[in-house]
Symmetry: C5
């Protein structure tokens, strides 16, 4: 899964039936320092997330599974709202020496 | 899903049977400021889109699902025509501080 | 799907059984101005393409579907021979203003 | 599969049901010289790995398979803890000449 | 599929059951001029390849199919040993003019 921030919504009146009823959330992928990386994806919501939320998202079949629509045209979904993290950036330096 | 603009069509007289009958739409991926990013994909159309439309597209199985051809050789499809967006680019700055 | 040009063939006497009987076509991905982009993929052929052809290719399950081998180890296939295109690069400028 | 180092954990109280009970491990992809490359992924754990471990991870269906949850919204998982490697960087030079 | 050179092996005593019994081959992706491109992947072997071999590899379900383990956590596999190639780099120039 990857981390992102929901920065808005998209409206597509004409869309595939399998997306009807789903909010289309513009999700900016961010690194663990909350810096934007990569592209903005449009994801459906599986956990009640909204604009401003720091989230976890999945792509491909995992996204379809999260909204129980394995045969849909959905390929990205919000699957978690992040409310904490414990990151040890120093670990990479320690490991770098003895492996 | 990702956002793009349809910039033309491709003709392939000799093509896989599963693509026969589908328009092959040259789709330039764009960011939320409509700037081209990444490659031009060739997508089939699932929602009646045409050249000049601002669209949502899916790839992989999601694309095949959108035209009800799960066993086809299609791997990209237009799944929505975008007619509105509400984007808060400032959200990233607010979030950057307190998470 | 993506566009490419077939620039040669690869020989692999020892290969997975599911690839036996398939030409292994070295395919250079190109943009719509025929400029090489990204990597050279090795694809099987599903439409009778050969060296020098301007082609459409699919990856993943779509590739396996094109040669009716869903359980094979194939992950890229030529699925169309391009013999025409109608591209409106100006569309991006028009769109850029009013969306 | 790819190699990475687990640098921390993520907490998402509200998340897809299929992820409940799984540690969410922040995994920094590294090259064979332990240099960070690419993004940090959030992976579930299938082999009892923890912060500081040098690991092997899979993505997509392979990740779901590793925790026996093929219909889940998981798309990355730790599938091995690396405790040795035998790398011949010189091989590329030897090969470069005669192929 | 993509081309690579096997540059070594990885040892992971604790790994997903579906990988037990498989050599874990560190595979450096190379272009058709044998120049390293992209990342080193860890692949299982489906054709008896070893360190120093110039190979063809597949990813995703194709990799699982090559070792008849569709429900495994494997997502990369060596599926061919390259012993010849016939590449026409000039083709791109010829094509560039008249398409």
């Amino acid at each position: 899964m990857k981390t992102g921030v929901i920065i808005g919504t998209i409206v597509a009146t004409r869309k595939d039936d399998s997306m009807v009823g789903h909010k289309l959330l513009a999700t900016q992928q961010v690194d663990l320092n909350m810096k934007p990386i990569g592209q903005v994806l449009i994801a459906v919501d599986a956990v009640g997330a909204g604009v401003g939320d720091y989230v976890l998202f999945s792509t491909g079949s995992a996204a379809r599974n999260s909204v129980q629509k394995p045969k849909s045209s959905i390929d990205a979904a919000i699957v978690g709202i992040i409310d904490g993290k414990d990151i040890h950036f120093d670990v990479l330096d320690e490991i770098g020496g003895d492996k």
